[in-house]
Symmetry: none
Subunit: 206 residues, 4 copies
DNA sequence: GATGAATGAGCGTTCATTCAT
DNA sequence: AATGAATGAACGCTCATTCAT
């Protein structure tokens, strides 16, 4: 089974649809969904305005596709990077590392998924909220497990979870590649901050 | 003869300009600057579209006024709530409390000031960036003081400052009045989280 | 009887009305009536938009006042410069000199009176057309007199009259003060051209 | 298979772009560029306002296209009607006839090209001025040739050229088809006037 | 006489979308 | 699949005008 649309003849089919998604992703992230026109997206792809409608039913459908695609990929990647079970401290470290690095790797997807919820019409909105909830649930699960085992000092799990996610996500607002710190160094700083915020003093060896 | 239009009853004359600012503030915060039309703002104020231009030269000027006004007020309020000098741990607590409560009190101003930077044209942008920098500088000053005195365990002051601000600001993304926790309780939770993230175990009595 | 509005106290009253006329005249001439806004006129005068309406009932009334005032002044000046009676060749020379010099002296009035007829609403238009006709009639009278006396070679008086006026008026499209020729020199060139176009070879001494 | 959209019947497909140009031409000529709205142009064409922008980038671009198109066509037609070389008196006659008849045939193009220079933004203005200069240059060439040969009595070639053009162009301000004189008769009157104004008494047989 | 604020209409332009080709 | 042309609605903004102060 072939992953892409390469035909047997080996002639690669112009994958306009993906090009549209890439263009829209970067433009939406940069300037926001309402500020981006279909014409701009088309121009970046190298087609005309109307051509987009051969691939997406509407601008809204394009947004939903981007957000839903991102969230599903994020959940899959999370489940790979942070398998269930094991020491909550280790799992928290993995979660923090995953979250920070994923956010630094795919900042556009992440930013859109958080910011453009308000641009969603009701149908798409409820699907997206559910996916976001599922992601946050993974962190709440880790915090609860650590609380049950007495390894985390947590005043309030839901608040702490939201606070942690906000803190971690904030990395995207200031980190720039090529600066003083590498992505991995930043991730480790955030791991330390997260651990400290939960009162963890020594992380078990991994 | 009174200079301003305040009548003897103290009832100020209908101040259209302020009403426009209030309407624009809430609409921009809710749906974003590009998604809000001058017509909508005018409608909410109860005037016609063109009337706005008696008070603001352009939609952009209105945005700049909102953002700059907010940032200047924020800096003044910060200097009142967190005077310079004193124990850095105490000042950090004051900063966190101030930041969280201010953000919960004026969530719209705060949100716009962070989110709509991308909607600013160059002239306004540079003024706003300077104001933001000045605010962040206050926190960096506290962290550096604590680091010098050895009361904070800080890997990297600028990163820690940005991480803290992002964490604190994140409170606006989930807190809703009337929920399980009061604003003050949430502020104290954030103070504790911030202290822990800096390795502070006991706060000095204030 | 005092000509201006200087009061007995000697305090000169700000003659806003005339200032408005002057500003409107130059702006209408430069860019055309529809392209000029009441705000621009007011700005040039140093008052606010609404202030104009203390002096003129409407933008249209302002235009009519300018055009009618100009045409009446033009007719008066013509009758002074080119009195009736006398040799048609001499009177033609006087007419040409008057027309060219008046057009070079008051190019804005002249231009508006010809160009902005189309901006007039019916009431003003018929009054202005009558005034224009009266002016052209003066030239036709001269041409007819010369034709009767056999001193002008004219194929068709009305055509010749319109052609002459168009030729003379055209001086405004190219003449600039400070150039190679003085106004008087240009006027004499036009006199010669006009004479030649009527087959006059020697002008009687004046 | 045919390259263009001309069907076998020869009936060309409804050419909206040309229809827009025609509508704009007549409206601009009638009321002036600033007084005409895109809505009016579209209405006359039978499309909606926005549809114009499929053919012209802006109202200004539409004006430039009209003016530039006219001037280029005028120059081509002139070079056909008045070939270089030959007796300057004959060429002058041809020029006058051409100018008058072209102006009576295409009065709208002509009027716009002279009147709406002030509505042009700088880029278009300089292109148009160059085209106008090229046209006037043709007449100056004829006058200079006649002056050199001693067949024209000219005080000043540039002034005479501008004066002649103004006189000839003025025909559009009064001539109406169906009046007492045919276009050709009017043209011959202007030829005679032009010749007389240059002191030419007998035109060589052509 | 002048102002500041308002209005209703209209401006040039752009928008997302449709559809015959 | 893509285009060119169209649409109807909306955009930010300016217009001439009015009027209470």
């Amino acid at each position: 089974m072939l992953k892409d649309k390469t035909s047997i003849s080996g002639q690669p089919k112009a994958d306009t649809k993906q090009a549209i998604e890439r263009a829209a992703l970067s433009l939406f992230a940069e300037r926001g969904y309402p500020a981006v026109s279909m014409r701009e997206i088309a121009e970046r792809v190298g087609i005309r305005q109307g051509g987009i409608y051969n691939h997406f039913a509407s601008k809204q459908a394009l947004l939903v596709q981007l957000m839903e695609g991102h969230m599903r990929a994020l959940l899959v990647a999370l489940d790979v990077s942070v398998p269930s079970g094991g020491d909550p401290r280790q799992r928290l470290g993995e979660f923090v590392r995953f979250h920070v690095l994923y956010h630094l790797t795919q900042p556009d997807d992440v930013f859109i998924a958080y910011m453009e919820l308000r641009s969603l019409e009701p149908a798409g909105l409820s699907r997206l909220k559910e996916l976001r909830r599922a992601y946050e649930e993974r962190l709440r699960g880790i915090l609860e497990a650590g609380q049950r085992l007495g390894v985390f000092a947590i005043t309030d799990v839901p608040v702490q979870a939201m606070g942690l996610i906000a803190m971690l996500t904030g990395v995207t607002t200031w980190y720039r590649d090529g600066g003083r710190l590498s992505r991995d160094e930043v991730a480790e700083i955030y791991v330390t901050m997260a651990m400290q915020s939960l009162g963890v003093e020594e992380t078990p060896t991994m």
